[in-house]
């Protein structure tokens, strides 16, 4: 037996665990195959697919260049406004919750209850909140803003806590050693560490909110979703194409810009 064979023998034998994993996965997979069925596929399914593609390639240009409140530019701006304001309100509301759920600051029971609350807030689908807030404000973008702010809280406060717990304390110690006051420590020791990371988290959430805001229109909470579903139900594929085109462009641009800003913020 030469050296190479010996090295090969040293490799841990993972065959059993591989086989078990694949076995369990395939059982689950076979169990879930029942969701696939073709009897419901409507006969004109391919025709509709073709129509959608044609609509995407020949969008309704008059809708794209329409600057009134029914045109796509205004709808996109409205969607962005919903996401923007929702993110800001959510980002502000998440600060106290973040401190309340940090287990090294608050007593254990309080932190646990707040964490449970945050999990519940995160799990309930945005559409349910949308319907609840429509009772408060009536249909329109305002309901969308409130929904977005509520759904943002869960994730934002969790990420805030991570950042706050990761603060570099040695900076604070050395500042104390040279005799800085509390305010100076906060201004020059904590603030510069926090702002970039918190801002990057908030921008990331804005990116996500923009995607979610397009969906809220389906329940009448403003944004571009409502015109989209109306156009689809009326089989106006060129309008659908125009709206989808606007949406795709907006999301791609915002994602590109937010990625650029975030890399700049994190790298300093």
């Amino acid at each position: 037996m030469n050296a190479i064979d010996k090295q090969l023998q040293l490799q841990p034998n993972r065959r059993m665990s591989y086989i078990m994993t694949i076995f369990i996965l395939s059982i689950l997979f076979v169990w879930s195959v029942s969701t696939i069925h073709f009897e419901n596929v409507s006969l004109n399914g391919t025709k509709i697919a073709k129509n959608i593609l044609v609509g995407l390639l020949n969008p309704d240009w008059s809708l794209i260049f329409n600057v009134s409140t029914g045109g796509i530019p205004y709808l996109l701006i409205e969607t962005m406004a919903i996401a923007f304001l929702g993110t800001i309100v959510g980002a502000l509301l998440a600060i106290p919750l973040a401190f309340l759920s940090a287990s090294n600051i608050m007593p254990k029971p309080i932190a646990f209850v707040v964490r449970l609350l945050l999990i519940i807030i995160r799990t309930i689908p945005a559409i349910v909140y949308g319907l609840m807030f429509i009772r408060v404000t009536g249909p329109g973008p305002f309901a969308g803003v409130l929904t977005m702010s509520l759904t943002s809280i869960g994730m934002l406060s969790k990420l805030y806590v991570d950042v706050i717990e990761d603060l570099d304390k040695s900076v604070l110690e050395s500042m104390e050693a040279i005799g800085c006051t509390l305010m100076e420590k906060i201004r020059f020791g904590i603030w510069p560490q926090l702002t970039a990371l918190l801002l990057s988290i908030v921008i990331y959430r804005f990116d996500m909110n923009l995607r979610d805001a397009t969906v809220l229109g389906l329940v009448g909470a403003g944004g571009i979703g409502a015109p989209l579903i109306f156009a689809m139900n009326a089989y106006k594929w060129s309008e659908v194409g125009a709206i989808l085109l606007g949406l795709i462009l907006l999301i791609l641009v915002v994602e590109f810009v937010s990625n650029r800003i975030r890399t700049k913020l994190v790298r300093g």
Partner: protein, 271 residues
């Protein structure tokens, strides 16, 4: 560039050296932020007054949800399993399909620039479309039911796992791969033995994470008729039987919590 537009603050050190301090752009950013906030408030009709006066309406529905309607539970199991099946099938198939696509999209494996560019473009295009809207389109093509939801989840999983995977492949250590290529292995063989071991834990953990999120998404897909528990949610909301809604949400929270905890445990073991 923007630093030069602002005048820099000069400071003279005790040894007569001059130091330039960069002006902070914080005030400018704050101004822009305030302006955008103001504009958004105008566009969306945000008003504190309405919130303060009518916020009680929000809790009316929550009060009606408690206590949840326990007798409704027996009807929930089937759609709940449908939801889990939809996300499981879509995630597994999507994660498997994402592997060859991300191989084609990685610039260090595929040398043809046009193939990598078009694969990346398709992946980002798929990622931009919200799952609910894809599901809506799918219901038109595949009819109402779980099939449409599965397709939507499948497409989203390809896009999400594919993007993270090709970024992983591009940052991988290429030495072993090059050695194997020079020994005469084909691209796929070399990929299997040099790159797969490096990306496998991350690939599995990304797929698990995606599955976790998909369960959450799948729960609302029924809203557009794409099957699962969302169908019942939509129905109960339409009938205003909020006790049923409360039951559905309770079940959802429990399911998501269990799946999240399990997948978090598995992901920690993988890393």
């Amino acid at each position: 560039m923007q630093w030069k537009l602002l005048s820099q603050k000069k400071m003279v050190l005790p040894n007569d050296k001059e130091v330039l301090e960069k002006r902070s752009i914080m005030p400018l950013m704050l101004l822009i932020l305030l302006l955008l906030t103001f504009l958004s408030i105008r566009i969306t009709g945000f008003s504190i007054e309405v919130i303060v006066n009518r916020i009680s309406q929000f809790f009316v529905i929550i009060q009606q949800m408690i206590p949840p309607n326990w007798t409704y539970l027996s009807k929930l199991w089937q759609p709940l399993f449908d939801t889990i099946k939809m996300s499981l099938f879509g995630s597994v198939l999507g994660a498997i399909c994402a592997l060859p696509i991300s191989m084609l999209a990685a610039t260090n494996i595929t040398k043809n620039r046009w193939i990598t560019m078009s694969c990346k473009f398709i992946l980002s295009l798929l990622r931009t479309l919200p799952t609910l809207i894809v599901a809506l389109i799918a219901t038109f093509i595949f009819g109402l039911g779980t099939m449409a939801g599965t397709i939507a989840i499948f497409l989203f999983t390809i896009a999400y796992v594919g993007k993270l995977l090709y970024e992983q492949i591009e940052s991988v250590d290429m030495k072993a791969y090059e050695a194997m290529c020079s020994m005469g292995l084909t691209t796929i063989q070399a990929f299997r033995y040099a790159i797969m071991p490096q990306i496998l834990p991350n690939y599995l953990s990304t797929s698990l994470f995606c599955f976790e999120g998909n369960v959450r998404y799948a729960s609302i897909l029924g809203y557009v008729g794409a099957g699962g528990i969302g169908l019942l949610l939509n129905e109960s909301l339409g009938w205003r039987s909020y006790a049923n809604v409360g039951m559905i949400l309770l079940m959802l929270v429990c399911t998501v919590f269990i799946i999240e905890t399990t997948s978090e445990y598995l992901r920690k073991k993988l890393m």
